[in-house]
């Protein structure tokens, strides 16, 4: 197991860090992720999916439990550098507003080491459905979907082992969504890239993922292989799946 999460819990203080009462976001969550696997995490809004994502990235620490990558703690920057990258839900705040798309794409490589010429960048942008004219644009000149595609290109640029996609394709429209899903599938085969795909879109998760995990109220309700999706046991998972079909 490359990524191992052992019974983590996370709570936040309700009224800022001086507030008394704590709000439990995650309770005793454990999961494992193999190299090259794509794991879908599905849940309602407010179920703690995004918090789980931030903990997996090591940008926040759990109150209890541990998260290890290859046996080393994920909170260590050297461990995550170049191995795990991320595409966030909020595309507006994920690109530095003073950077052009070119600079944004090069930013992660500064830390990982590696080169990317204009030709490679153009190719990368083409794969996400943009063209080279975007290289010199600033984030505010991009529409929501375009900015999100730049974020995806940036995450792919350093060829990490795992990309965490936190609602990454929900703001894209149908045709581009499909294009990005195809791109992710293709990358998975060429580079053995794996994904942790946090989403509420069950259809997209079913398309991309090998395994799907249902989260509710900060707990994992059920984990199921995608091929066995029709045999889910819990009521909650059934309800979610049913809503999509109707």
């Amino acid at each position: 197991m490359l990524l191992k999460v052992e019974s983590i819990s996370k709570s936040y203080r309700r009224n800022g860090w001086l507030g008394g009462e704590r709000h439990q976001v995650l309770r005793e969550v454990s999961l494992e992720w193999k190299k090259g696997e794509s794991l879908g995490i599905i849940g309602e809004s407010g179920s703690g999916k995004s918090t789980l994502g931030r903990l997996l990235l090591g940008i926040e620490k759990p109150n209890q439990g541990s998260i290890t990558w290859n046996g080393r703690p994920i909170t260590d920057r050297r461990v995550r550098r170049g191995t795990i990258s991320v595409v966030f839900q909020n595309y507006v705040s994920s690109i530095h507003p003073f950077y052009t798309v070119r600079q944004a794409l090069l930013e992660p490589l500064k830390h990982v080491g590696g080169q990317l010429g204009t030709k490679d960048m153009t190719e990368l942008l083409c794969q996400v459905g943009l063209d080279e004219s975007y290289l010199n644009k600033y984030p505010h000149e991009l529409s929501g979907g375009e900015a999100q595609r730049v974020c995806i290109a940036r995450a792919v640029a350093s060829v990490p082992q795992c990309i965490l996609l936190d609602e990454a394709i929900s703001s894209l429209d149908g045709s581009v969504q499909m294009q990005v899903l195809e791109l992710l599938k293709q990358l998975k085969e060429t580079y053995e890239m794996g994904y942790i795909f946090i989403t509420h879109d069950i259809q997209a998760a079913a398309y991309l993922c090998d395994r799907i995990m249902f989260v509710r109220g900060g707990e994992i309700v059920e984990t199921v292989e995608t091929t066995q999706l029709r045999h889910v046991q819990t009521e909650y998972a059934k309800e979610l799946l049913h809503k999509v079909l109707s």
């Binding site: 929501g144 979907g145 929900s170 499909m178 997209a204 079909l245």
Partner: protein, 273 residues
């Protein structure tokens, strides 16, 4: 007479002279629901903001947008502000940025209501709480005390919809209202929109890229590509038998996902990969 008439609007960037929307016209009659679909960057949000006069100052627009025959461009900023919210209500794509970050959601909502209505505090709270419960926000008092950053995107979206329910505007402009929501809430919110139409007869401009949602809610569909309206027609016609090749492409790419999912659920063998 049409409720909302948009005639030959042209939108361009005042600094660079780039034309973003060359010429678009459409009408909306009372109680109608018009969906605008198109890929990102095709000018859907821009059109919505133009209707509300909310585009940034450097984005210029010309043409005529009239609500009940009143040209919106002729209104002063102050009059326009009275229109926004009461007559035309916009539900934004990004819930985080639509609320005042420095105050609890409740204080913000009450302020909006007190500007448009002379209700007492208890009346306002009563109507807000019914609206919030109807969009699936069960613990009303908790939501009211929270600051926007403490609520998830989906919850904020629902708060906005609840506010629209209370305001009962003539036109609701919903810019990707269900994008940030999960399947269950999305389903509930779309139901809310359907109810909203039945109850107060609001016309809805519904921007979405989710064709399933569009199929559920819209009477008419407008397809945009690169700022140009390529097709307009009845929902069933556009989604089943589109005449423009771009529309067919939009429909087919979403169908692929759906078909894969259906296969998975029905248990026929699916080739993995």
């Amino acid at each position: 007479m049409s409720l909302l008439e948009v005639e030959h609007i042209k939108i361009w960037d005042g600094r660079t002279g780039n034309v973003l929307i060359p010429d678009s016209s459409f009408q909306l009659s009372q109680g109608e629901c018009l969906a605008i679909v198109g890929e990102s960057g095709s000018g859907k949000s821009l059109t919505c903001k133009a209707l509300m006069r909310l585009n940034r100052p450097e984005i210029r627009q010309s043409g005529r947008i009239s609500l009940y025959g009143v040209d919106l461009a002729s209104l002063s900023d102050k009059e326009m502000r009275r229109y926004r919210g009461r007559r035309m209500c916009m539900i934004m794509q990004n819930g985080m940025r639509a609320f005042d970050p420095s105050r609890p959601v409740g204080a913000f909502l009450l302020e909006v209501l007190s500007i448009h209505y002379d209700w007492s505090r208890s009346e306002m709270i009563a109507s807000l709480s019914t609206a919030m419960i109807s969009v699936g926000l069960k613990n009303f008092s908790v939501v009211m005390e929270r600051y926007p950053h403490e609520l998830s995107g989906g919850m904020l979206q629902r708060v906005m919809i609840a506010l629209a329910i209370v305001m009962e505007p003539d036109v609701i402009i919903a810019d990707e209202p269900t994008t940030a929501l999960d399947a269950v809430t999305q389903y509930e919110v779309v139901e809310q929109f359907v109810h909203l139409r039945g109850r107060i007869g609001s016309a809805i401009v519904f921007v979405s890229h989710d064709l399933e949602v569009v199929r559920r809610i819209a009477d008419d569909v407008l397809v945009m590509k690169d700022g140009v309206i390529v097709e307009r027609g009845k929902t069933s016609k556009i989604l089943n038998d589109a005449s423009h090749s771009y529309t067919r492409f939009l429909v087919s790419s979403k169908e692929a996902l759906r078909r894969y999912y259906m296969q998975l659920m029905e248990g026929t063998d699916v080739a993995k990969g």
